[in-house]
Amino acid sequence: MSEGLESDGLKRDQQALVPVQDHVLPFADAPSIVRAHQKDSYFESVLRDKVQGAVQVLTGQRFIHTHPDEITVAAKALYVGLTTVLGSRTLGEEYTDLMYVTRDGKRIPKLLRRLGFLASYSIIPYVITRILRRLLPVDEGEGASSKKNWFQSLSYSKILDTLLNVHLALFYFNGAYYDLAKRIFGLRYAFGHRVDKEEQLSRGGYELLGGLIFTQIAFKAIKHFSESFQNDRTRKSNTEVSDNITGVPPSVPSNDIDLSNPKLLKFIPDFSRNCMLCLSPMTNPSCAPCGHLFCWNCISDWSRDHPECPLCRQALTEQSILPLR
């Protein structure tokens, strides 16, 4: 990537801009921020692909499948770390000529704030989601405690969704902070150039969108209240019945690919659909570097102690096994 070159250019930019302390840079408008954000998320996804490629070489295919969130967090942190934290602009910010200023728009945010933004943008949401997933029960149906009140019946994801929607609506109204993390750390965007009135008018605004989101939130809230009110009434009449029902474990939908189903992976011919380790139709067929197929579980158990294919003795590591999808 070309951050190195850009940061050189940017340092010159900043030197040119900092003396303009007496008159404040104009705050950026919502459309420019959204455009910058779209560019950035595109480049973030490009960077994520590259990171994934590198991780795959180091750890193997299986890790990629089991840790997609972690890779995304790493890519986000890398992108912001190489641009914002180092004091240069992201590619999206360059595209619409934006730069960070403090809340009052008079200074450039300090390193600590930018580091805080990095953390709250990439790592902290991931950590919070993990913790809350563990603390709060996932099911939103009739859980074990039938005496939930309306507040307890609010799930974490519902609260977060509403919060993010309010935040987004505010952004559409005043165009200040597109990211919640940027709102918290007071990283506001300003244009790196002057804006004349005509340019400002031609861009228009997103106030209508903001209004729609607020209306939506209002309707959801009304619906939620009326539903939980009704539930309270029905629950009172149903308590005796529901106590008698013994819990039936929900059937877990498995993502396993079971080759005893002839419709799956039709390109594998009948005579090679059995795994020679368990002598049964393969579950999650996986390919060794030599081309031999086995169940994922069978071959990974084997490869832990034996770095060779059980059929042809060609070299084999757990990392080099490729699950077929």
């Binding site: 002598l279 084997w302 059980p310």
Partner: protein
């Protein structure tokens, strides 16, 4: 995985034993009790000094079979360069480091039968008979084996 696979092997063994000439010297191969302990019976090949003998082989299947090989040893005494005369322990590469899950209990049994006719004198468990083989005294080698076969392996099963 082990139980599932042993079940599959069990289902195919009886058919293979009755249908094919390939296993003519394997008299029986059956689980004793659960699927993790088996008993096999082999017959001495007709063109060998083991002719007319029958040997019982005790098979212990590990819980992580077929990742790990089964343990097999002779129950009645067998005089062979690669079999411990006292304990019945078998020195066969596929029962140790050359094991792959491509082998089954049945094919491993036929590998033991091949070992009877094709001893490997470089890794002996029975020094006396191995030395006879190394010295090239085939007459004495065959004679000694025939003697022990008649002593320990006739009507033994």
């Amino acid at each position: 995985m082990a139980t599932k696979r042993l079940m599959k092997e069990y289902n195919s063994i009886q058919k293979a034993l009755s249908d094919t000439q390939e296993y003519e010297n394997i008299v029986s191969l059956e689980p004793t009790g659960d699927l993790f302990s088996w008993c096999g019976v082999i017959r001495g090949p007709s063109n060998s000094p083991f002719q007319a003998g029958t040997w019982k082989i005790k098979i212990e299947v590990p819980q992580n079979y077929p990742i790990a090989p089964p343990k097999m040893k002779f129950v009645n005494k067998l005089c062979h360069p690669n079999v411990n005369f006292q304990t019945g322990e078998i020195c066969l590469d596929i029962l140790q480091n050359q094991w792959t899950p491509a082998w089954t209990l049945l094919t491993t049994m036929s590998a033991i039968l091949l070992l009877l006719q094709d001893p490997e004198p470089t890794s002996p468990l029975n020094i006396d008979i191995s030395n006879l083989l190394k010295s090239g005294d085939i007459k004495a080698y065959n004679g000694l084996i025939r003697f022990y076969t008649h002593k320990y392996a006739i009507d033994s099963v």
